[in-house]
C-alpha cells in the first residue's frame, strides 16, 4: 500500500527511559516501522533524563573517521551535541553474523551506553538492548528482576521539526528553569535542521537516512518570494525613512499642531501603521518564533486591511455614491441643527412640566441658539467645497479600511463639534454651581474646608459673612434645577456621539489586533503551534518493548488569540463605571476614550 509506506518513511525513533525491559504479553498488529537499512544511529542524549532522540541513520559502508568529522562539523554548526547513539540492524538475507560486527562498532565509538536496535523481517516489533560500557571491557548486563523498562516512541520528524511548543520560552531562559523533556526534544529536532540537508542523492562519503532522505523538499514559489523580498524590503524601508524625515520638520512640532494631531484618530492610526511598517519591512530576518509570528500577523492583517479598503472604494465610487453622500451631508447637518434648536425652544418653555427660572433660562437658551446659528453659517460657507473634499478624502480609503473608519470617526467628531462645545459649557456651569453649593453649605453649617489638612474643620464666621453666604446659597440652590437640566440634556447628546465613535474605534482596534496569520496557521497547519503531545499505544508483539506513537496536540483557538494578539494603542475606558458616574454627578468633564500613550489630560 503505497500511501502507508509514504507516511511511515517519515517516522523515526525516539528512545525514552532506558533500562532493560521485561517482556510484554501482547501480540497485536503494529502500525509503523522504520524501513531504513542497517547502520549507525545518530542523535542526542537528553541531559538529565534517561532518554535519547534518534535523528538519522548512517548506513554501511562508512569510514568511522569521516563519521566523527561530519558529526563534529554539524555540532559546531547547530550547537546540538550530536553523537552516535548505537546501531540499527534490519538484516536482509545473507547478512548474518551482525552481532560481532556490532560489538566492534561500540569500541570504535566509545559511549557510556550503546543502544542496539534491531528488527527482524516478518516481525513488526523492534527489540532493543542497552549495553553499558564499564572501563574498557564491554559488558552486557541483563537484570533479572524485571524492573527495568524501555519505551520506544515514534514521531513524525517533519512535524516536530516545524512545530513550536507553547508557552514559548526564549533559548536563554533554559538555564534558569529545568527544561522539560518534551521541550528539549522539540528543541533538538528543530535545531538539527542542517542534519537533514544531506539526502541520498548526494555524492558524499556518508549515506544518511532521515525524513528528507528521498530528496530535499522546497517550494519554488516560496524560494522566489524570499529572494524577491529583500530588495522590496530595502526599498520600502527607504520610503519609510523619507516619511520620517518629512514628519520631523519643526513646523509640525508646534504645540497646537501636536494637540490637534493627538486628537484626530486618523493621525494616530497613521502613526501606528508607520510603526508596523517598520517592523514588517525591516531587512533583518526574524530571530525568534514570536518575532516571526508578529511580523507575519501584521503583514497579513495589513494586506486584508488594504483589500477591504479597495473593496470599499470600488463600492463608494461605483455609482458615484460618494457625491450622493456629500450632497446629503449638508442637509443632515442642517437637520441636526434644527432639531437642536427645537430642543432649546422646548427647554426655554416648560420642559416636562418643570418650572424653570425664567431669566437664566432665557440667557442660556439664547446663548446656545446663537451658537447654533454660527455653526450653521459655517457649514453653509463650506458646502460648495464639501463634495470635492469628500471625494479626495474618500480616496484615502485605499490605505486601508481602518484608515477609512478613522476618517469617518474624525468627520463625525468635526460635524458634532457644537454638541461638544455645548456639553463643555453646560458641564462647567453645572460644576461651578455644585462646588459653590457645597462650599456654601459648609458655611451654612459653620464649617470650612481646610486645604492644608485636606479635611473639613469648624470655623467661626462673622455675621455679614454668614448673611451673604446664606443669600448666595439660596440663589444657587434655586437656580440648580435649570443648570442641572441643561447639563443633563447636553451630556446625553454627548454620550450618544461618544458611543458612536467608540463603536468605530473598537472595530478599528479589532482589525488592527486580530492575529489572522496565527489563526490561519492553526486551521491549516495545526502541528506548527503545539500545546503538547498525545500518545497512542501501538499494538505490539510479545517480546518487544512498549511502542508509542507521539502526535502533536495543537493549541486551542482561544489560546492562539490570547498569545498572538498584536498590541494596539488600546482605547479602553480609563474609568470604571462607578468613577464615571461620580464624575457625571459632580460635573467633571469626561474623556471616556483615552489613548494609552497620552500622559496628560
Amino acid at each position: 500500500m503505497p500511501a502507508l509506506v509514504n507516511a511511515h518513511r517519515r517516522v523515526n525513533l525516539l528512545v525514552v527511559g532506558y533500562r532493560i525491559r521485561a517482556t510484554s504479553q501482547k501480540s497485536l498488529p503494529f502500525k509503523c516501522c522504520n524501513t531504513a537499512d542497517s547502520g549507525l544511529l545518530v542523535g542526542r542524549w537528553i541531559p538529565g533524563h534517561n532518554s535519547a532522540v534518534v535523528l538519522a541513520v548512517i548506513h554501511y559502508p562508512f569510514i568511522p573517521g569521516q563519521v566523527k568529522k561530519y558529526l563534529s562539523e554539524l555540532q559546531s554548526q547547530t550547537q546540538v551535541d550530536l553523537t552516535v547513539l548505537g546501531s540499527w540492524s534490519m538484516p536482509k538475507e545473507g547478512q548474518e553474523g551482525m552481532d560481532s560486527f556490532l560489538k566492534d562498532l561500540s569500541t570504535i565509538f566509545p559511549q557510556k551506553c550503546w543502544l542496539q536496535l534491531s528488527r527482524e523481517i516478518g516481525k513488526r516489533g523492534f527489540t532493543c538492548q542497552v549495553v553499558q560500557n564499564n572501563g574498557r571491557l564491554l559488558q552486557e548486563r541483563e537484570q533479572k528482576n524485571g524492573d527495568d523498562k524501555i519505551i520506544l516512541i515514534h514521531y513524525d520528524q517533519r512535524k516536530v521539526m516545524l512545530s513550536q511548543l507553547h508557552p514559548v520560552q526564549d533559548v536563554g531562559q533554559k538555564s534558569d528553569v529545568e527544561a522539560s523533556e518534551l521541550r528539549l526534544v522539540f528543541q533538538t529536532v528543530a535545531q538539527s535542521q542542517p542534519l537533514f540537508f544531506l539526502d541520498k542523492y548526494d555524492d558524499g562519503p556518508l549515506k544518511l537516512s532521515h525524513w528528507q532522505s528521498e530528496g530535499r523538499e522546497a517550494s519554488i514559489i516560496a524560494e522566489l518570494l524570499k529572494q524577491a523580498s529583500v530588495p522590496v524590503c530595502i526599498f520600502l524601508t527607504w520610503l519609510l525613512s523619507l516619511w520620517h524625515w518629512l514628519c520631523s520638520f519643526r513646523i509640525l512640532h508646534l504645540p497646537p499642531v501636536l494637540f490637534i494631531s493627538s486628537k484626530l484618530s486618523t493621525c494616530v492610526q497613521s502613526v501606528y501603521r508607520a510603526v508596523h511598517f517598520r517592523t514588517v519591512f525591516s531587512p533583518k530576518k526574524a530571530a525568534t518564533h514570536v518575532e516571526f509570528m508578529r511580523k507575519a500577523n501584521i503583514f497579513v492583517s495589513f494586506l486584508v486591511d488594504i483589500a477591504l479598503g479597495l473593496l470599499l472604494i470600488s463600492w463608494l465610487y461605483r455609482e458615484n455614491r460618494i457625491s450622493k453622500l456629500a450632497d446629503t451631508l449638508v442637509p443632515v447637518a442642517d437637520r441636526v441643527a434644527k432639531e437642536l434648536q427645537e430642543l432649546l425652544e422646548w427647554l426655554m418653555g416648560a420642559p416636562a412640566g418643570l418650572k424653570m427660572n425664567r431669566a437664566l433660562d432665557q440667557v442660556l437658551g439664547r446663548f446656545f441658539l446663537y451658537h447654533i446659528h454660527l455653526w450653521i453659517s459655517y457649514i453653509h460657507l463650506m458646502s460648495p467645497f464639501i463634495e470635492r473634499i469628500l471625494w479626495y478624502v474618500g480616496l484615502s480609503a485605499c490605505l486601508g479600511l481602518t484608515f477609512a473608519l478613522s476618517v469617518l470617526s474624525d468627520i463625525v467628531a468635526l460635524l458634532t463639534f457644537h454638541i461638544y462645545c455645548f456639553y463643555v459649557y453646560g458641564a462647567r456651569l453645572y460644576c461651578l454651581t455644585i462646588y459653590g453649593l457645597s462650599s456654601l453649605w459648609r458655611l451654612f453649617r459653620g464649617k470650612k474646608w481646610n486645604v492644608l489638612r485636606q479635611r473639613v474643620d469648624s470655623c467661626s464666621y462673622d455675621l455679614d459673612q454668614l448673611f451673604i453666604g446664606t443669600l448666595l446659597f439660596t440663589i444657587l440652590l434655586f437656580l440648580l434645577p435649570t443648570t442641572a437640566l441643561y447639563y443633563l440634556v447636553f451630556t446625553l447628546l454627548r454620550l450618544v456621539v461618544v458611543l458612536f465613535q467608540g463603536v468605530i474605534h473598537l472595530s478599528v482596534d479589532f482589525i488592527n489586533s486580530f492575529p489572522l496569520f496565527a489563526i490561519g496557521l492553526r486551521i491549516c497547519r495545526p502541528y506548527r503551534l503545539a500545546e503538547g503531545v498525545k500518545f497512542n499505544v501501538l499494538c505490539q508483539e510479545p517480546g518487544t518493548p512498549l511502542h508509542l506513537m507521539m502526535e502533536i496536540n495543537p493549541l486551542k483557538c482561544s489560546s492562539v488569540l490570547q498569545c498572538y494578539r498584536t498590541p494596539t494603542y488600546s482605547c479602553y475606558p480609563k474609568d470604571s463605571w462607578a468613577g464615571l458616574c461620580k464624575k457625571l454627578f459632580v460635573g467633571e468633564l469626561i474623556y471616556p476614550w483615552k489613548q494609552k500613550t497620552d500622559k496628560t489630560d
Binding site: G17, E178, K534, V537, L546
Partner: protein, 181 residues
Amino acid sequence: MAEEEFTDINGNSISLDCQTHSDFCREFTVTSPKLSLRKVMVYTCFVWLFAYAVFFFTENTAVLSSAIILTLAGMMIHIHFVKVDHETLLIIGSLGVQLSSSYASGRESTIFIEMNKLKDIVINEAVYMHSIIYYLCILIKDPADPETVTSVVPLFQSSNPRLNCLVQVYRSCQEILAQSR
C-alpha cells in the same frame, strides 16, 4: 482487557475498561451511557409542538423554520461540545499521564502531563449540593519546587464514577507510580 459495570453518582450505569499494555503502561476507559433516543424525541416533539402553537396564532412561517434550525443547531452543539462518550486515562510509568475525553461526535480532547510535573494521584472528597462525592484527581507540582502542589486536575468529570470504581483505578495507578519512584 477487563470490562466491568459500575454506577455513577447519579445512578446511571457506566462501564470501566482496564487495558494493561505492559508492566508500566495501563489504560482506563470509563464509558458513559449513550444519548437516549427517547429523550431526543421528547425534546424535539416538545419544541416543534410549541412552534406549531405559535404558528397557529401568528401565521408566520418564520417561526417554523427557526424552530427547525434551532433544534438542529442545538443537537449539533450538544453532541459536539457537551455529550461525552468516554473518558480515558493512560498512565505510562516514567513518562507521564494522558487524559482524554471523547465526545459523541467523535471529537477528542487530550491533555498530557509529564511525570516530573506529577506529584501524586489521589481520591478527594467534595461537598456538592446536598451530597458528598468522591473524585479522583492528579496533584500537579512545579519541578523547581517539589513540595508545593500548584494545581489539582480532576479526572472523569463527565462520567463521575462512584468510589468502588475509583478505588480500582487508584490502586492500579499507585502500583505504576510506585515503580517509577
